[in-house]
């Protein structure tokens, strides 16, 4: 690398440190107890990959690497949005289904109760009518 002096060692050193951090974040993604842990770790990995790409674009003096970093940022953002939206939409549909089943069950039980009570009610009305006639 011409004309950079100590930066020619410094920039790859930063890339190496970020690479080690990416491995650690990957470990977190593998160990994370819940799926959101993994998504957070993948988000970390994506951001650090963007940083490495930008540093390398300065180090190699290749401006097109920054374009790739922009596309990578868009892709990681869209991936996370799609994953979480999928989970949220499915969860919402499931909750709606459960609520509908619960309401249907309640309606069925109240219908049963009404059917049980109906003969008694009819008898009561009959008695009341008889009493009215006698009077």
């Amino acid at each position: 690398m011409s004309g950079m002096g100590w930066l020619s060692v410094f920039l790859p050193g930063c890339c190496v440190v970020l690479g080690v951090l990416i491995l650690l974040a990957l470990l977190r993604a593998a160990r994370g107890p819940r799926f959101t842990d993994r998504i957070v770790a993948i988000n970390l990995i994506g951001t650090m990959t963007i940083l490495i790409m930008c540093i390398l674009s300065v180090y190699f003096e290749q401006a097109f690497l920054v374009d790739i970093a922009i596309v990578y940022a868009l892709l990681s953002c869209i991936a996370i949005v799609v994953l979480t939206r999928l989970v949220i939409v499915r969860r919402r549909a499931q909750e709606e289904r459960e609520l509908r089943e619960k309401l249907a069950g309640q309606a069925a039980t109240s219908l049963e109760t009404a059917k049980d009570l109906a003969p008694g009610l009819a008898k009561l009305v009959e008695t009341a009518d008889d009493a009215e006639k006698e009077r």
């Binding site: 970020l18 974040a25 988000n43 970390l44 951001t47 940083l51 540093i55 300065v58 909750e95």
Partner: protein
């Protein structure tokens, strides 16, 4: 030129240190909603420091304008991603009150 590159180097080192702190925080905290705080650090501060260092190093050019575009985009997108991740976590966790004191409302979030 030397002072400028030293300033850029300090910024980049600060950014890499922020990345280290973010990964450390992701390992130290024990629940996702806490871990997201540490992870959001890298998305905003770490990215800002490293890319600002690179912009200082490059000076005024199309390449540094694109780096600025990455900063702007990630600053706009990172809160959205954090919000969606937290929402998915809150909606799917069955015993949220065991992990933290805040409980969701009746309408989901």
């Amino acid at each position: 030129m030397l002072i400028r590159s030293i300033f850029a180097g300090v910024l980049i080192v600060a950014g890499v240190l922020v990345a280290c702190v973010a990964v450390l925080g992701v390992f130290r905290f024990r629940y996702v909603l806490n871990r997201m705080h540490a992870a959001a650090l890298l998305d905003t501060l770490g990215l800002l420091l490293v890319l600002t260092g690179l912009i200082v190093l490059l000076g005024l050019s199309w390449q540094s304008a694109k780096l600025l575009l990455i900063i702007v985009f990630m600053w706009l997108a990172s809160p959205v991603m954090s919000h969606l991740i937290a929402r998915a976590e809150v909606m799917t966790h069955a015993h949220l009150s065991d992990e933290c004191e805040v409980t969701p409302d009746d309408d989901g979030i």
